[in-house]
């Protein structure tokens, strides 16, 4: 009877969820977006998602083998990284690109820092940024959703072949330069809400992302601070532009639904590993992500700024954490 007895420091009971549980929750929450991407982009989506997840998992396993560390796949974080990377890729990129991105994500974005929990930057965004920097043409080639064009052409990247289906944000950039009517762009709001427009695999459908985000909030997997801060600050920035110069800047609502804004607010900026710990820090972090995104969208050269914003704020996270260092409830102890 007593042979089974164990001893350990207190406490002796604990709450019923785990790292894996949290990651599974995120996977569940992402499933509407995955479904939407498969609906809109058919087998292209399915293949890329499968490739990313698979390669991420295999890379993590390999890194563990090389480091002679216990296998860490059962925490499922590699799957989340793979999913988020896949959902942030354009539909028509070749599979080998997705493979390179996934390897970079896990190997350089995560494992060199020591694996889960140690990375400074969001691994999926690291992969995406590397791809953007390397294969710019492929990464800015937007195909038409299959619901609009069942033939959904596969783009081969020739050097002068430009945009196939402009995304709402590409239109927005044109509008800023005075080459497109703001009104025509604003009319894309419904399409962007449903997801029936050009863009990355997972970012087009606002409704699917909202569903997933709501699930995470209800399950308390994430707290509301970061999404709220991101969306609020983005909305405020977009509104300022819209109010000052409504003939150049598109409606703030479209800014929130278009591009990776929602994917970022609910799934990317909330990555706990790379976000600040404290509530105050989360507010600052989220506000920074929203503001930098809008800065890049409205002033910079890129149509979309989410990944840069997240990356930049990831880098600032240690400083934010330090700045928002908690004071003990009873004040700072003496001596």
């Amino acid at each position: 009877m007593l042979s089974k007895i164990t001893v350990s420091p207190a406490p002796h009971i604990s709450k019923a969820y785990s790292t894996r549980g949290i990651m599974l929750d995120v996977i569940i929450a992402l499933s509407p977006a995955v479904a939407a991407s498969v609906i809109y982009f058919r087998h292209h989506a399915a293949i890329i998602i499968a490739a990313c997840v698979l390669v991420c998992v295999v890379t993590e396993w390999l890194c563990n083998v090389i480091r002679k560390k216990p296998n860490s796949l059962d925490d499922c974080s590699a799957i989340v990284t793979g999913l988020i990377l896949a959902l942030s890729l354009p539909p028509a990129i070749p599979v080998w690109t997705a493979v390179i991105g996934s390897v970079f994500s896990i190997a350089i974005g995560k494992m060199v820092f020591g694996g889960l929990g140690s990375n400074i930057f969001n691994p999926a965004m690291a992969g995406r940024l590397f791809l953007t920097a390397s294969f710019g043409t492929l990464m800015t080639t937007w195909t038409v959703p299959a619901t609009i064009d069942p033939g959904m052409p596969v783009i081969s990247a020739t050097e002068t072949q430009a945009v196939t289906q402009a995304t709402p944000l590409a239109w927005s950039k044109e509008a800023i330069k005075g080459k497109a009517e703001v009104q025509t762009v604003n009319r894309q709001l419904t399409a962007s809400f449903l997801g029936n427009t050009g863009g990355c695999l997972g970012e087009t459908s606002t409704i699917a992302l909202l569903l997933g985000g709501l699930y995470l909030l209800l399950k308390r997997t994430i707290t509301f601070h970061i999404p709220a801060a991101v969306l609020l600050s983005a909305f405020v920035c977009a509104s300022i532009g819209f109010l000052l110069k409504s003939e150049a800047y598109i409606s703030p609502l479209l800014h929130l639904t278009a591009g990776g804004m929602l994917l970022c607010a609910f799934f990317i900026a909330t990555d706990p590993v790379t976000a600040p710990l404290s509530r105050k820090g989360k507010w600052i972090f989220g506000a920074g992500v929203g503001a930098v995104t809008m800065l890049i969208r409205m002033v910079g050269e890129y149509p979309e700024g989410v990944m840069f914003a997240v990356f930049l704020m990831n880098a600032a996270t240690p400083l934010i954490d330090r700045f928002c260092k908690l004071k003990p409830a009873g004040g700072v102890p003496h001596g």
């Binding site: 494992m111 400074i120 600032a316 400083l319």
Partner: protein, 196 residues
């Protein structure tokens, strides 16, 4: 009004868009060496800002007022480095003697700066870009220092976190710092082209 705008843009551009560390690979040695602790990094940043502003102004004056008029561009590098090295050494001695506390907190970084490419590099870039006004040169120099301080402080924050992380042995120290620095340049890529 217009000059103010130009100067402001120049400042933002050198701090963020054309940050010396991230886009020009300047000052990497202290960036890797002194970014272990935030307070040290900040001290280094302050010292660099001080010296680079001083150096930028002085070399601009020498270059435009003396060397250019005498057609002695060939002496540029020698003069630049002599001015920087001499000035740094003087400032250091001066601080050490008269402001020991200030010296303790930031003067100790001064000697390190003579061999810091960021200083000479900035002077050379100011020359290369053909900056024609002393005011703009001053703003650029000061901005370069601020940009360096920002970069090294961000890095120091990250490295303080990495101290507690389970980084593989062979990547500890310089390698992981380099990789982090690389990823940081990706983050700053977002601002590329923002100011033409």
């Amino acid at each position: 009004m217009e000059t103010v705008q130009v100067l402001l843009l120049a400042f933002v551009s050198i701090v963020i868009v054309n940050n010396l560390v991230f886009t020009k690979f300047l000052g990497i040695c202290p960036y890797l060496g002194v970014s272990g602790r935030l307070d040290m990094a900040f001290g280094m940043g302050c010292a660099v800002t001080f010296v680079v502003t001083l150096a930028g102004i002085m070399t601009w004056m020498i270059n435009n007022w003396v060397l250019a008029t005498l057609h002695l561009e060939v002496m540029k590098y020698v003069c630049f480095i002599l001015v920087i090295a001499g000035a740094v050494q003087l400032v250091e001695m001066y601080l050490r003697k008269f402001f020991p506390t200030l010296y303790e907190s930031f003067g100790i970084f001064l000697p390190l700066i003579t061999t810091n490419c960021a200083i000479l590099g900035l002077c050379l870039f100011i020359d290369l870009w053909g900056i024609k006004s002393l005011l703009e040169a001053t703003v650029l120099s000061f901005g370069a220092g601020i940009g360096f301080t920002m970069a090294i402080c961000i890095m120091a924050g990250i490295r303080e976190n990495l101290q507690l992380a389970d980084v593989p042995d062979c990547l500890r120290g310089a390698p992981i710092t380099l990789i982090t620095a690389g990823l940081l340049t990706l983050a700053f890529m977002g601002f590329a082209g923002m100011i033409g």
